[in-house]
Amino acid sequence: MADLEELYREIILDHYRSPRNRGELTGEAALRAEGFNPLCGDEILVTLHVDDGTVTDIKISGQGCSISQSSASLMSAAVKGKPVAEVRKTIETFKTLMTVHEAQLEDAGDAPEPEPVDLRTLGELAALQGVVKFPMRIKCATLGWNTLAQALDDASL
């Protein structure tokens, strides 16, 4: 149960109940990407505006569990207003935090350990670290992030 409380921290439940930046940006200028978690059916749509190398607006829609929804909500708050380069870095940092443990899922364990992540650089996002104890939920937590990366990739940003 202690692990479970780590997973469902108050901040996560808060972002789940009241997701930030909910909705969809339309119009030509909006970048967009859709993400899927085939295992549980979670779907996400990330739309954003990038002006002058900065993410000026971002909206999230779709359906999913508390982890995928709150992670996307936390992500939107973390990247809004940030330069793309910094966003890219945050994505990498977050994914590293998760991948360490994803690797453990697929592996007998003798792969080289990735660099540990300094949690302080993550701010509120650090609340998601409880997820790593639940390997099956990691794909929930990374869904929004992978989708954002996809949107940036598609626009060659």
């Binding site: 479970l4 059916g41 569990c65 508390s66 929804q69 929930c140």
Partner: protein, 414 residues
């Protein structure tokens, strides 16, 4: 409160070693039989015994263990065929990997031979992906039309336009029981309707095999698919049963050793059914295990298992209703003889994934997601549902643990 069951669940549980393990310090409540059933010790032991005293490749050896292995393998065919009421098991039981492969085999052989642009296959909205995607792949190749029978508002098959859909169709392919709704379909009348329309009928028996009596001859069906791991047997084996005269006319599925009469560099001659469809070394130990599973099921009695699970389903539906009232949405027909032991639900705003996670922490195993039935989920308007499902080893205490765990979930997400 706990109606007397025709099964002595405490005694049955002793046969299932996994049930004596703990999970997160709790007794395990395994409520995921619809995904995969647990094997009783006898099944594991039959395979061990095979591996440790008898293992050899089948069909071609004359030494003692190879003869014994061949006899065990072929008698597994007979045992399983008899269990299904097959008139001629030695010619009608094809071993595959799972239900999915059985249906692909059917689509690739019978389907490619008989279905073209002007033909249609009738499926239903409650089918598992295993009974949809192989037909979609066939449609891509041959242009055959796929039609879907809908559902009524109690989530049973809506038969009002069955004859219309069957008009011009060559096959009706339908599940005996929904792995999401628990709906049990009346196969006999469906078979009669299909035949009256000049179509054949294939039954996806994956979900029903452990829980419902089967008799392919009495039901008058043409093909039936099964998975070992959903009927107390091992992984890695499935069955396609087909009427002997139908199988005899089919082209081969996969090519290789065991399915040929002769091979030259420029051609091959295929063997007769069922060998024609069993290319390469078959799942031998798995066949031995599945035969043992069938003996175990017959020992308990499929009718008894069904009665036990019906009672448990009624109990669970009542308790969930009493505990959560309008807060819970349960997808499936009301309790009754055509309601199998599968309960899919949504609980207020708590996502299925979170429900399953919280239940796990108290040792209750349920499955969240689309359950490989996305067309059905779209029809229901749900993205993911939590599902609890029963086996002969499930008891009232498992239902109680489920309800208690769900109560806890609602407090976390209050």
């Amino acid at each position: 409160m706990t109606d007397t069951s025709p099964l002595d669940v405490t005694a049955v549980r002793r046969d299932f070693p996994l049930l004596s393990r703990e999970s997160h310090g709790r007794r395990i409540s395994y409520l995921d039989t619809a995904a995969s059933s647990l094997p009783p010790h006898a099944v594991v032991e039959a395979m061990d015994h095979y591996y440790e005293t008898t293992h050899a490749n089948v069909h071609r050896g004359v030494y003692e263990t190879a003869e014994e292995a061949t006899r065990l393998f072929e008698s597994a065919r007979t045992t399983i065929g008899r269990f299904l009421g097959a008139p001629d098991p030695a010619r009608e039981i094809v071993f595959t990997r799972n239900t999915t492969e059985s249906i692909n085999l059917l689509a690739r052989t019978w389907g490619e031979q008989h279905l073209g642009e002007d033909d249609a296959v009738v499926l239903t909205l409650m089918e598992h992906h295993a009974n949809i995607v192989p037909w979609q792949m066939l449609a891509e190749r041959t242009g055959v039309e796929l039609r879907f029978l809908g559902l009524d508002d109690q989530l049973r098959l809506d038969l009002s336009n069955l004859d219309e859909l069957l008009d011009g169709a060559k096959l009706l392919s339908v599940t005996a029981m929904s792995n999401v709704l628990g709906t049990v379909n009346a196969i006999g009348p469906l078979a009669a309707a299909a035949h009256a329309a000049g179509a054949l009928i294939h039954v996806d028996g994956a979900q029903a095999a452990l829980h419902l009596p089967h008799d392919v001859a009495a039901l008058d069906i043409d093909f039936l698919s099964l998975s070992g791991h959903k009927m107390l047997g091992p992984t890695g084996i499935g069955v396609l049963w087909g009427r002997a005269e139908l199988l005899a006319d089919l082209p081969p599925f996969l090519g290789g050793g065991g399915m040929i009469l002769d091979v030259r560099t420029d051609r091959f001659i295929p063997a007769d059914a069922p060998q024609r469809f069993e290319a390469g070394t078959p799942p031998i130990a798995e066949a031995v295990g599945l035969a043992e599973a069938v003996r175990y099921i017959s020992g308990l009695g499929v009718e008894t298992i069904h009665a036990h699970e019906s009672m448990l389903t009624t109990y669970a539906l009542d308790r969930l209703e009493a505990a959560f009232g309008d807060g819970i949405t349960i997808y499936g027909p009301p309790a009754g003889p055509d309601r199998g032991g599968v309960i899919s639900f949504e609980l207020g705003d708590v996502h299925a994934h979170d429900i399953a996670q919280i239940l796990d922490s108290v040792g209750v195993c349920v499955r969240p997601g689309h359950h490989c039935a996305k067309p059905l989920m779209r029809h229901l308007g749900v993205q993911a549902a939590a599902r609890a499902s029963f086996g002969p080893y499930s008891g009232h205490d498992d239902v109680d643990a489920l309800v208690a765990g769900l109560q806890q979930a609602t407090t976390v997400f209050l």
